[in-house]
Amino acid sequence: MYKKRKLGRGVAMVGAGMSKFDMFNDKDSKDLFVEAYIQMNASVDKGLDPEDIDALYLGNFTNDFFVQQSHWGAILSDSLGLVPKPATRTEGACASSALAFREGVFAIASGFYDVVLIGGVEDMSKRSTEEVAEGLALAASPYERKAGLTFPGVFAAIATAYFEKYGASREHLMNVTIKSHDNAPLNPKAQFNLAIRDMMAAKVKRAKSQGKAVPDWIDEKDFLRDERANPPIAWPMHLFDCCPISDGAACILLVAEEIANRFTDTPLHVVGLGQGSGRALHSADDLTYFEATRHAAKEAYDMSGLTPKDIQFAEVHDCFSIAEILHIEDLGFFAPGEGHKAVEEGLTRLDGPMPINTSGGLKCKGHPVGATGAAQLIEVWEQLRDKAGRRRVPKSDLRIGAAHNLGGTGGTCTFTILERR
C-alpha cells in the first residue's frame, strides 16, 4: 500500500564538492573522486575530521564495462584513506549516485550512522563512442537492443509520440538546447562553456581564417537546423539534443540533523525523497511520460508537504532534450503537453519563473553517468548556499531546490528536495 514516507530522524547536507566534468586522458575516476573529496572537505564551513566519517556510499554505473574494473566502493574508500570504514557501491544506471544519496540518508535516519560520505563517479572517455553507446545500452531492455534501438533511439521514439500527441516539433527541442548552452558558460565545472551563439561565431571565424565557405546561419535555430553543424544521431535527436561522453566525480557529506551545527550554520535539510521504477518502452502505459518520475515526485512532495509551486528551481535529467520536457511535466512544474511551450516562452531560463538546469544540465555540464545524481544535488547546494556565482537564480529568498535523476530509459527515477532554513 502507498503511504506517506518520513525519515526516522532528520538528515542534513553539510558539504559538497565535485571535479570538473570533461574527457580526461590522464585521470581516472579514482583521481577525480579524490579531487571531489578534497573540494567537499574544503566546503565544510566548520571543518571535517575524516575520522568522523562512518561510511561511504558510492554510485557507479559500470566501471566494470568502461574500464574493466569493479568493486569501486571499497577501492575508492582506500584512496580517500577511509579504510577500514565500510563502503558500499550502488547501481541504478545513470541514477546510481542518487541511489547512493538515498542510502546515505537512510543509514543516518535509521540511527545507525551519524556522518556519511556519498558520491558518484564514472570514467567513460577511455572507450570509443561506439563502445560507450554499447555500455550505456546495458541499461536498456533486451528487446530494445534487438530492435536496433540505441539510447538516443529510445528517447527519439518517445519524442515522436510526444510530437504526435501535443503538436510539438524539433524546433521546441532546440529551445532546450539553446537554454542549456546559455547557462553552461556560467558554470566553471561544465564540460562545454560556449553559448550556441558564441559557438557559431567561433565557427564563422575559423571558416574565414581557413578560407573556407563562411556559414550564413541567421540565428541559433538556423544553426541547429543545419545538418552539417548538427547531424542526426537518431532522428529527431540530433547531436545537440544529446549529452556528451564525460568523466567526473561528485562527493557529498550527509550528517544527522541534530549534529549539523558542528559542521555549518547553513545546512541543507533533506525534506523530500522519492524513487520510482519504470517499465520497458514497449510496455509503458503511455510513451509521453515517465511513470517512475511521477511516482518519485509524488513520494517526495508527500513527504515534504510541498507542492511543485514551492520548488524555486530544479535540476532535471536532460540526457536528451526531449527528456527535459517530459520531466518538467512529470514533476508537476507544467501541465502535461505544456512543457515544450514553457521552454519556448523562456519560463525555464535562468531568469524565468522556474529555472531548470542552471548548471547547464547534462547536455552541457556533462554526464559522467554514475556521478550525475550527486552532481545535480551539488548544483542545488551551490544555489541555496549562494555559491553559484554568475548563474545564481535571481530570486530574493532562495530556500527550496530539487533534483531529478533518471536511470536507463526511465527504469529508475529519483526526486530529491532540499531546503535551507
Binding site: E130, P142, G148, T160, A161, A234, L287
Partner: protein, 140 residues
Amino acid sequence: MAENPINDYGFEQFLNEGKLMGSKCNGCETLYVPPRSLCPGCRQSEMEWAETAGEGRLAAFTSISIGTPAMIKEGYDRNNPYCSGVVELVEGARVVARIEGIDSMHPETVEVGMPLRVKFLNQGTDDDRGTVLAFSPIEE
C-alpha cells in the same frame, strides 16, 4: 504450441516459425507481447500462448544514423540510416521492432499512426540475433 516455454526463448522459437505470439493471462485475459510468465496485473502465472494478427499501427519511431553494433555490421550508417519504433498491435499490446519500408532518409515525412503489418527478418538464417521482429506499411 504447448511445448514452447512461455518466456523469451519460446517467443524466439515462434519468431523463427514466422509467428508473432504473446502470452494471455487466464485471469484478466490481458495479452503480453513479448510474453510474460507472470501477469503483472493479476500477479498470477496461469498464462497461455495466443497468436496475434500481426497487424498494428506505428506508435513511435526513430531513424537511426549511429546504430547498434549489430546494425553497423549490417551496413547501416549516417548515409544509410534504419528505422526502429514502437508498434501498437490491434490486440492492444505494444512491441518494439525494426520498421521497414518507410523513408529513413526523410523521417519527417513518416506519419505516426500509419497501419503496419509484421514481417520477420533473417528468418532461418544463422544470424546470432535469431529472427528479428519487423513491421512494414500495409499497402492500401
